[in-house]
Amino acid sequence: KEDFVGHQVLRISAADEAQVQMVKELEDLEHLQLDFWRGPAQPGSPIDVRVPFPSIQAVKVFLEARGLRYTIMIEDVQSLLDDEQEQMFASRS
């Protein structure tokens, strides 16, 4: 089973079209294994991306270097998944 320990979901705010394009550049970097939950669209609409642990540093450097604001929407994906699994097993029992 795929494990998501340390994966984070970042919410990126692209202020203008140029910044939307920058995020699209990020989307093309396949080695980062990014999973866009909400893809880059128009300026002002939130962009949510799940970032595997090994890519977090690189992604944050990329964003900060370009002045792209972001917040951490989910600190650790695996901990939410663990909660979800626990809740499912608890409800079964």
């Binding site: 089973k1 795929e2 998501f4 979901v9 919410r11 396949e30 999973d35 866009f36 939950w37 909400r38 893809g39 880059p40 669209a41 128009q42 609409s45 939130p46 949510d48 799940r50 929407m73 989910i74 994906v77 939410l80 998944l81 909660d83 979800e84 809740q87 499912m88 409800s91 079964r92």
Partner: protein, 310 residues
């Protein structure tokens, strides 16, 4: 396993087997109202089931609702289960809803992407696409909401098999999509088509692949406005509404663009809770409130469809 749909736990997420068992229970408990149809088999050979709710007649005007086309959007399949129970228990009890089912059929496909859904339970909770193999690529799966024959291949989908929005080699390449296409064409009398996703809290109508407004834009916008007001009235959950391309982003090969192009005027897509605290990992405690508020919006759309025959 629940012994009846009254003891089934709607406030938790379930596996594919548990949902398929639920369908059998519901059909057995309401043989005059509910039947389970198999409209095809998935890429990996799982049956694709649709629940039909009918009080008689022959090929009556119908309403289609599907959930779970993107497998990781678990709150949608869970809401679909809740809708199924609601339909069965409200018929004959709620006058407004009874009027709908006395004149129209409802088709509800709860697990529209069974292979992907099974995979989210077994291997990868974050899986979104189908599980079909693409020759020439090691990447798996096609985005079933980019594979429809409506603006297929245009901007708003990817030609890269490794992308989450990979459109597939050709329109309807995915059997999960083709099964619905064949069913809709065969039936020929579907008047409303509602495809349910999460997350973002949006109610959307065509188009996604082009900026041109649909011919019925004003009416669709009005129906969406009323439906969102009904939804918000329950718990205050804020939804936005509008066309796909203006409200969220350009998306080609989408479900409701195709259904609208087929002449199904009342074509809508929901993006359920939340706006991005949990995203696809919405806690199970929010399943029932999400389903309850969404049901009010569905009722609004169904009533409008009943009262505006075309």
């Amino acid at each position: 396993r629940a012994r009846s749909t009254n003891t089934f736990n709607y406030a938790t997420y379930h596996t594919l087997e548990e949902i398929y068992d639920f369908m059998d229970l519901l059909a057995a408990e309401h043989p005059q109202l509910v039947s389970k149809l198999q409209i095809g088999s998935s890429y990996e050979g799982r049956p694709i089931y649709v629940l039909k709710f009918s009080t008689g007649g022959n090929n009556r005007p119908a309403i289609w609702i599907d959930t779970g086309i993107h497998s990781r959007e678990w709150v949608t399949q869970a809401s679909g289960v809740w809708f199924a129970k609601k339909i069965a228990q409200d018929y004959g009890q709620d006058p407004a809803f009874t009027a709908i089912l006395d004149n129209m059929d409802i088709f509800l496909e709860i697990v529209t992407n069974p292979d992907g859904f099974a995979f989210t339970h077994s291997k990868n909770r974050m899986w979104r696409k189908t599980r079909s193999l693409t020759s020439g690529s090691t990447c798996i799966g096609v985005d079933p909401n980019r594979n429809w024959d409506a603006g297929f291949g245009k901007a708003g989908s990817s030609s890269n098999p490794c992308s989450e929005t990979y459109r597939g080699k050709f329109a309807n390449s995915e059997v999960e999509v083709k099964s619905i296409v064949d069913f809709v064409k065969e039936h020929g009398n579907i008047k409303a088509f509602i495809s349910i996703h999460s997350y973002s809290q949006l109610l959307l109508y065509p188009f996604g692949y082009k900026r041109e407004s649909p011919a019925d834009k004003d009416e669709l916008d009005q129906v969406a406005k009323s439906a969102v007001e009904a939804l918000t009235s329950l718990y205050g959950t804020k939804f936005k509404y509008g066309s796909i391309i203006t409200t969220i982003y350009q998306a080609s090969g989408g479900t409701i663009d195709w259904t609208y192009d087929q002449g199904i005027k009342y074509s809508f897509t929901f993006e359920l809770r939340d706006t991005g605290r949990y995203g696809f990992l919405l806690p199970a405690s929010q399943i029932i409130p999400t389903a309850q508020e969404t049901w009010l919006a569905l009722l609004t759309i169904m009533e409008h469809t009943l009262n505006h025959p075309y």
